[in-house]
Structure formats: C-alpha cells, structure tokens
C-alpha cells in the first residue's frame, strides 16, 4: 500500500486504501450506500419543510385570509410594508422575543455554570442531585406551565402566600402588564437551566486536569483558574449550550400557551413573534400577514444562528 497523496486535512473521514481497483469498487459502493441510507430521512424532512416554507413565502405575498382554501390575490410586498411599519404589535413582539431569549439565556448560562461547577467534583449523593436536576427538564412543558400558573395565581398561589408571610403586598404575576414577561422568563429558567447544567457538566468532566494543575502551581487562585483556564477550554461546550438554548428560547410556545392561553388571559404582555404569528394564523385567520411575520422571524433565527456559529469557528 503506497501513500502517494499528501496528508489529508481530515484523516479520520478518509479511509480508502491506495489500491485503485478496490478504490473504484468501494467508491461506487460508498456513493450508492451513502444516498441509499440518507435519502429517506432527507426526503421526509425536505417534503415537510421545503414545501411549507415555499408556501409560506408565497402566502406572505398574498392577502390570503379567512379560510386556507379561500381565493387570495397577489399583492407583492404590501404585507412586508405593513408588518415592518407596525409599531403596535410587530415591533413590541420582536422586542419581547429578544428580551425573553436574552434574559432567559443569560440567567440560564450563569446559573447553569454555577451549578455545573458545584457538581463538577465527585461527592456522595451525586446521583440523586442529578436526578433532581433532570426532572424539570423532562417534565411536560404544558404541565409545567399549569403548575406555575397555580403557584403564581394572584389569589390562591403559593408565591403570594410567601410574599404575604414576608409582608410584601400580593403581585399579579402572570396577569400583570409589567410582571407577566419576567414571570414567564422565570419559569423558562426553572425548566431549562438543567439543560445548560448537563451540557456544561459534560464539558467540564471531559477537560483534562493538566492546565488547571499547571495554573495552580503557578499560583493562580480559584477565580483566576476558572476565568483564564477553565472558561477558555470550555468555550466550545458553552457555545453549543448557547446555540441549543437560544434556538428553543426564540420559538418558545407551549410554556406561554399554558400559562397565558386558554383561560389564562390574553397573550398581550408576553406576545413574542411565535405567539403573534400563531394568533394571526389560528385566531384571526390572517394567513398572508402571519406568513410575513413568520418569514421575518425565520430570517431573524437564521441570522442569529449564523452569528453564533461563526463565533464557534473563531474559538
């Protein structure tokens, strides 16, 4: 076996021996197996994504409304003009989407990092703490929303009972104009911080000890070792956590629906882009406008992911 070719940039992926006859055969087989295996999944997802996206894009250029089957006229970019000029509902929804995502994400990352550091070194009863942390994560979001709706109920909720005990007047929590958004952010933090903990903990346990030891010998204190050794080494994991959490936080739906929808009041105070588009589609049946909002929302998500993944390559 002669290795004539220069060293590949990605050796583990390239495992063809130099023998040309074998190579021709295996190339042929590989090529066909490759698509044979991948095609069903890609076709499935492709049909279920590409067609709806195309259709949403088309709808966003029409005045479709009323019924999905109703006649609609092509109106060009009029919907986009209307949406982008809408400072009443659209832009506040954009603001809330970003407020929700950024605050929840920031708190989850900081809190998650603290808890992950607490759990880092082995201790007795570790298993039970891990189970406790896993429970919010796997609990059904709608049930979690209902649970917090009872706890934050202005009249009978535990939250106000605690406040009364401390002597603070009762708060409207989920029904208050200015308290609703912070409250749902709190619930999101409760449910999804464990996700960050678990990801960061996996990153921490896979770090090698040497750099930390070296810094210790050089006289770095705990904070310095964390700031200048652990965090930089953990950066790829941190970015994965940020990426996963921001994708899900941007399009939070079930939590908001459970706490604010059906019988919980209106969505006004917590109306994010996702909720706004859902309302336009299924409450007002204004498909043209909702499609426009969704296309813009989609572009925002893609842009956010693009920025985050570019960062990832820098590290």
């Amino acid at each position: 076996m002669t290795v004539a070719s220069p060293p590949r940039t990605n050796p583990p992926k390239d495992r063809r021996p130099g023998n040309t006859r074998y190579k021709t055969y295996s190339d042929w087989a590989n090529n066909h197996r490759k698509w044979l295996f991948a095609a069903p999944a890609m076709i499935f997802v492709g049909i279920l994504i590409i067609f709806p996206l195309g259709w949403t894009m088309y709808l966003s250029l029409t005045d479709s409304s009323g019924s999905v089957r109703a006649e609609s006229d092509f109106i060009g970019f009029a919907n986009y003009a209307e949406v982008l000029a809408d400072t009443d509902r659209f832009w506040p929804a954009v603001g809330r989407t970003f407020a929700f995502t950024s605050v929840a994400l920031a708190v989850q990352m900081i809190l998650g990092m603290c808890i992950a550091l607490l759990l880092w070194r082995p201790f007795k009863g570790e298993k039970w703490v891990r189970v406790a942390i896993l429970l919010p994560l796997v609990a059904t979001p709608v049930a979690v929303g209902m649970m917090w709706r009872l706890i934050f109920d202005p009249n009978i909720g535990f939250a106000n009972q605690v406040l009364a005990f401390v002597g603070i007047p009762a708060q409207p929590w989920l029904s208050g104009q200015s308290t609703a958004l912070p409250t749902v952010i709190f619930i999101d933090i409760w449910q999804w911080t464990p996700m960050v903990v678990i990801i960061l903990l996996a990153g921490l346990t896979s770090l090698s000890e040497e750099p930390d030891e070296a810094a210790r010998i050089d006289g770095a204190n705990a904070w310095q070792r964390f700031r200048y050794v652990t965090v930089p080494l953990l950066m790829p994991t941190i970015i994965v956590a940020v990426l996963l959490r921001s994708i899900d936080a941007l399009k939070t739906f079930d939590l908001l629906y459970a706490t604010k929808g059906r019988g919980g009041g209106s969505f006004n105070e917590v109306e994010t882009l996702n909720i706004y588009a859902y309302g336009l589609s299924f409450d007002y049946n204004d498909y043209g406008l909702s499609s426009t909002v969704l296309i813009i929302f989609f572009l925002i998500i893609i842009a956010a992911m693009w920025v985050l993944t570019r960062r990832r390559k820098d590290v």
Binding site: V45, L134, L135, V138, T140, G263, N274
Partner: protein, 295 residues
C-alpha cells in the same frame, strides 16, 4: 470559616505540618459545607414546585384555596377519579403513547441509517437539511400542513400526528446518532468487510448491534420530546386523537379552573415521563450532551 477550625484539627490524623499548608484543607472544608448548602438549595428549587403540583392534585379545591392547608391536609384521590374516570382520559394516555411510540420507531428506522451515512461520509450539508427541522419555528409549518392534510382528509387521524411528531423526533435522532457514530471506531466494521461482508451487511450485522446504546439514547429522548410536544397536536389532532398535553386544557374553562383536576391531569402527563427518566437517566444525559463536548 474559622468556626470549623477546631473540627478540622480534631478530625485530622496527621501531625500539624507547616503553617502555610494548613490553610488548604481548611478552605476545602469550608467549600464542602458551602457546596452541601448550595446543592440542597438547588435540589429544593427544582423539586419543590413539582412536589407542590403533586400535593395540590391530592387536595380538594376548597383546600387548595386555603393557605393554612399548604402542607397539612387530608389527601383525597377524588381528582384522580375525576380525571381518569369521567374524562375519557385513558384514551388520551393511549393516544400519547401510540403517537410517541410510532413516531419514535419510524424516525429510528429512517434516522439511524441516515445518521450513519452522514457521519461516515461527512455529509455535513445534508445533515444541515435535517437539522433545519429543529431550527424552523413550528408555527410556520402548521398552516401549509393543515391545508394539505385537511385536503387529504387526514386531519384528526393518527397518521398526521405521527408524521408531525416524526418531525420532532427525526432531527433529534440524526443529531444524537451522528455524534455517536463520529466517536465509534471503524476497525470492527473493516474487519467484517475483510471477512467478506458487504458494506450494508457490515452495517446491519456489526455496526448496528454495536450502536444499541446510542439507539436507546436517541429513542428515549425522541419518545420524551414527542410525548411532551404540544403545538402540532393542538392544531392537527381531532377530538378523538388528542394527546395528553392538549387534553390537559379540558380542565381549563374561561371562567373558572378546576385546579385539583388540572393538577391531577398534569401529574398524569408527567408521571410516565418521569418514571422513564428515572430509569434511563444515564441515556438521557448522554443524549442531551451528544456533540456538546467535541466543540
């Protein structure tokens, strides 16, 4: 921290060393206590609301309204009797199980080979197509889906729910299995090739059995996410095919809420998933962290 110093010197069997070295174990002891306190608080914060939900599900609505009966009350199973008896709840439990199970199984069948292929041949662009399903907001798919599926008169049936939940399960499975295969050595498969198996034979008879752990991880997580999914069933299910997260809303009226029944219904939704999580936590953790540590 100085208060624990006596304890420390008593507990230490070593003779007192150089003064400078004493500081370290002292600090460790302080950290240990801090850690116990902090972790207790963390566990309480994560568990307490769930306990609260469970307690409320055992109370009458009168007791729920009574602040004095927060922890001490006479438990009743009336709420569970309402939930499981009157509301046809077992059929919703069955719907949730069936939809989650079928969508997970079908997604595994098409997702595992796809992940294998994408991992082995570095089909990163193709992988992005599948992972797009995770990024796209589900609302943008609902109107077109609703239109097409209602024209095919599928809305309200199991098929459309299973398809839409596959959309949740498949990207998850592909993501987890890709990182699983990325870290799996190729030697055994190559040995099988040398022994005369075809590529596909080597995959089916060597690689697949070896990746049972990964398949279990992906399957459990896909099941959980499908079980918990709410939005697709909200729009695409019919009265007969509602899944549990949608059926919870049976207890919510615009004017008043049957809190006891609602909490019992919430417990019924969460219990199966928590039991699964307790027994399979190792797999869940490895699934959630798939790909996270490689950067």
């Amino acid at each position: 921290m100085s208060t624990i110093a006596p304890n420390l010197t008593q507990g230490s069997t070593k003779p007192a060393g150089i003064p400078a070295r004493r500081k370290k174990p002292l600090r460790r002891q302080g950290y240990k206590i801090f850690r116990i306190v902090a972790l207790t608080l963390v566990v309480l914060a994560f568990i307490a609301p769930l306990v609260w939900m469970f307690l409320a599900s055992l109370k009458t609505n009168v007791d729920i309204y009574d602040a004095g009966k927060t922890l001490i009350f006479s438990p009743t199973t009336a709420n569970y009797e309402t939930v499981l008896g009157r509301n046809n709840y077992f059929s919703f439990v069955f719907n949730s199980f069936w939809v989650a199970f079928a969508s997970t199984a079908l997604s595994l069948i098409i997702g595992v080979p796809a992940a294998y292929s994408m991992s082995r041949f570095a089909m990163r662009r193709s992988a992005v197509v599948v992972l797009m399903a995770r990024i796209i907001p589900g609302v943008s798919l609902l109107v077109p889906w609703y239109y097409v599926f209602s024209n095919l008169s599928l809305v309200g049936g199991y098929g459309v729910l299973i398809l839409s939940h596959m959309f949740v399960a498949l990207p998850l499975i592909v993501y987890i299995m890709m990182s699983y295969y990325d870290s799996m050595p190729l030697e055994l498969e190559e040995a099988a090739r040398v022994d005369g198996l075809t590529h596909i034979g080597a995959f089916l008879r060597i690689t697949l059995p070896l990746s049972v752990g990964g398949v279990a991880t992906a399957g459990i997580l896909a099941f959980i996410f499908s079980w918990n999914n709410f939005m697709f069933a909200l729009v695409l299910s019919g009265a007969e095919t509602k899944t549990l997260p949608v059926a919870i809303f049976n207890f919510v009226a615009y004017a008043s809420i049957d809190w006891g029944g609602l909490m019992a219904a919430s417990v019924v939704v969460t219990i199966p998933i928590m039991v699964i999580a307790l027994f399979t936590q190792k797999y869940i953790v490895s699934g959630l962290t798939a790909g996270a540590t490689k950067g």
